[in-house]
């Protein structure tokens, strides 16, 4: 659709997002530009209200920018219609939420199958792929458990399996350890590191420094603009 420079999976130019709250307009993003390459591991940090979640939601095609350009995999996402965005969310992006967002009445397997249901994949192949994804996150023996029968860490693993199952280009995580205790959070971060090592592109939003230290590049936001953008040498594999 538009110029795709070298190996960039995400190209953001002059991105603006404005919310109207009552009578005042809030600029969550004020003309932000960012490029992310394939197989990068980026942490987006910043105080609350800095626009980091808004940025992640726009990258994940859950929200639309008010202005600027967002190119995902060479496609101009900021001009797509709803059906195309749904397809992108389904196939190009795997989303991991702070509160897991699993369907409470479905078991782990059904939850992981969900993105495949919406890509129109037949039930046998669906189950097969969902099982493999659950095994990959170490939950091969918990497939028939419902979310309320799983611990927080296990739930987040189910959510990660669900994010991975359709083989997305990028994995987005919004405070993935925010609802977990430190030890479980570390386990989840190990899992992300593994995924990165396997060649996945990962972008995560956090306000915790020790979580961000797992990444290879840290982008800090303030008032809807990038404050600093630097590689993180500490993020090398342990």
């Amino acid at each position: 659709m538009t110029v795709s420079s070298n190996n960039a999976v995400i190209e953001i130019r002059q991105l603006i997002k404005t919310y109207t709250m009552g009578l005042t307009q809030v600029h969550a993003l004020a003309g932000l530009s960012l490029h992310i390459q394939r197989n990068e591991y980026v942490a987006i940090m910043g105080p609350s209200g800095s626009g980091k979640s808004t940025l992640l939601n726009i990258i994940g095609c859950l929200d639309m920018p008010s202005g600027g350009e967002y190119v995902l995999n060479g496609q101009l996402a900021s001009q797509m219609d709803d059906d195309e965005l749904a397809r992108i969310r389904n196939q190009e992006i795997g989303f991991v939420f702070q509160t897991f967002n699993l369907l409470p009445r479905s078991n782990a397997l059904r939850n992981v199958e969900l993105p495949l249901v919406y890509s129109g994949i037949g039930s046998r192949e669906r189950t097969d792929r969902a099982q493999r994804a659950l095994q990959a996150v170490g939950l091969g023996d918990r497939m028939n458990h419902r979310p309320n029968e799983l611990s927080g860490g296990q739930r987040q693993r189910v959510a990660i399996a669900r994010a991975l199952v359709n083989g997305p280009a990028i994995i987005l995580a919004d405070e993935p350890t925010g609802a977990l205790d430190t030890r479980t959070g570390e386990e989840i971060m190990q899992l992300f590191r593994q995924l990165h090592d396997q060649g996945n592109t990962i972008i995560l939003v956090t306000h915790e420094e020790h979580v961000a230290q797992h990444s290879r590049r840290i982008v800090r936001l303030r008032d809807g603009l990038i404050e600093s953008d630097a590689p993180n040498p500490g993020g090398t594999p342990v």
């Binding site: 859950l62 059906d83 969310r89 967002n101 699993l102 969900l114």
Partner: protein, 414 residues
């Protein structure tokens, strides 16, 4: 997501709230059952009056004696001196003077008891003429009907209605047997075919009784053999078969003038046209159907509103689920179908149960109230059509609401 997937999803969604789903369905169940029951009662009543009227003859005019004394004061009993009531002579006059009267049959009825061996049977003894068969479309099942010769000689012969035969003779052959009616012995010479008649009142005017219970004798025999009080009308009824059904009204008018003149203006008879009554009763029936249909229709609409209400609540309750599905790649259309199929399932299942109930209710009514009910086949198509329309009509708004939600807003909804 394909339709089968959506269907499964909806079934699972509905089954997770069994009681709520059932209660929502109840509105449709009752609505559909009410529609079917109302229509089947209406249809049954229509068939019944149609048959009764056909039994009286669709091209007939009925002149009935009307005893004023029963209905009004005795003040006018002096009229008795002017008119002797409906007479055989009136019947002959109609036959002679009215050109459109093809057949005329007089009738004198007498409520009495008949005896055959040890069996007694309360019956209506009907004195009439051989034309009765033609005029009333009756057929002889076995034996013969009496003839003009029997009339002339006032022979003591009788013809039994189907029910009278059954009551008096069971499975025996009644032909040639003798039955006793008020000290007179009659020889059975024939039995009429079962008319499957029922008693009732048509248009609130004309009484119809079950003529299968009648016993027929020659009019002359009846008038001569039995003792009659002075001043009683000679005939109960004269039935006139008109050769041209289009001239029923004119003929009735002519008969009214003729008999009225013969009775010296005394209003002691009434004229009924079954065909006219049929049209009247059909008109009444139509009004009944429309009113009942409206009431039942309202209950269907109420049921539909129930569905809409629950679906709206369900959309609100499942906002987060909608958000999750949208975040994982569900299109607006997928969400729309999910909720639409749910409401359609509720209304169609309700419709199905309603049809079953709609079949059962008329059966129960027939059993206890003795009304005839007929469930017309097209009502089932109607019930399904209506419940599908209700399901889509009242389901589309909540489903649209669900599909319109923004993924991020839905996800953040608490």
């Amino acid at each position: 997501m394909d339709l089968r997937e959506t269907f499964t999803l909806s079934v699972v969604g509905l089954l997770s709230h069994k009681l709520r789903t059932f209660l929502t369905m109840l509105g449709i169940i009752f609505g559909v059952a009410a529609v079917i029951a109302m229509l089947s009662i209406g249809e049954g009543a229509k068939q019944e009056s149609l048959e009764q009227i056909r039994q009286m003859g669709i091209s007939n005019i009925i002149v009935q004696h009307w005893d004023r004394e029963e209905e009004e004061d005795r003040e006018e009993s002096t009229d008795r001196n002017l008119s002797r009531g409906l007479t055989w002579a009136d019947a002959r006059a109609i036959s002679d003077i009215v050109p459109t009267a093809e057949y005329v049959t007089p009738q004198r009825e007498l409520q009495t008891r008949a005896l055959a061996g040890d069996n007694t049977f309360r019956t209506m003894l009907v004195g009439t003429t051989p034309e009765y068969l033609t005029v009333l479309n009756a057929r002889v099942a076995s034996g013969v009907f009496f003839t003009h010769e029997d009339m002339l000689e006032s022979r003591r012969v009788c013809v039994l209605g189907a029910d009278a035969r059954r009551a008096l003779f069971f499975f025996d052959d009644p032909l040639g047997a003798r039955i006793k009616i008020r000290n007179h012995w009659f020889t059975v010479i024939g039995v009429l075919e079962d008319k499957g008649a029922a008693s009732g009142k048509i248009g609130g005017v004309l009484e119809v009784r079950n003529t299968d219970e009648d016993i027929y004798v020659p009019l002359s025999t009846l008038l001569q053999r039995f003792h009659w009080e002075a001043g009683q009308s000679e005939l109960t009824q004269i039935t006139v078969k008109v050769d041209d059904p289009d001239r029923l009204n004119e003929t009735a008018q002519l008969i009214r003038t003729l008999v009225g003149r013969r009775h010296r203006g005394v209003d002691d008879f009434k004229i009924a046209i079954p065909e006219e009554l049929l049209r009247q009763s059909q008109r009444t029936q139509q009004i009944f159907n429309v009113v009942m249909g409206c009431i039942a229709g309202i209950s269907l609409v109420v049921g539909g509103i129930g569905i809409m209400n629950i679906m709206l609540a369900s959309v609100l309750e499942r906002t987060r689920e909608i958000g999750i599905r949208r975040a994982l790649g569900a299109r607006r259309r997928d969400i729309l179908y999910q909720f639409l199929v749910e409401s359609l399932l509720v209304s169609l299942t309700g419709g199905l149960v309603g049809v079953m109930l709609g079949y059962a209710v008329p059966e129960v009514i027939t059993l206890y109230a003795g009304w005839r009910t007929i469930v017309p086949a097209w009502t089932i198509a109607l019930a399904f059509g209506v419940s599908a329309t209700v399901g889509i009509g009242f389901g589309i708004y909540p489903a649209r609401q669900a599909a319109r939600l923004n993924p991020i807003d839905a996800l953040r909804y608490e």
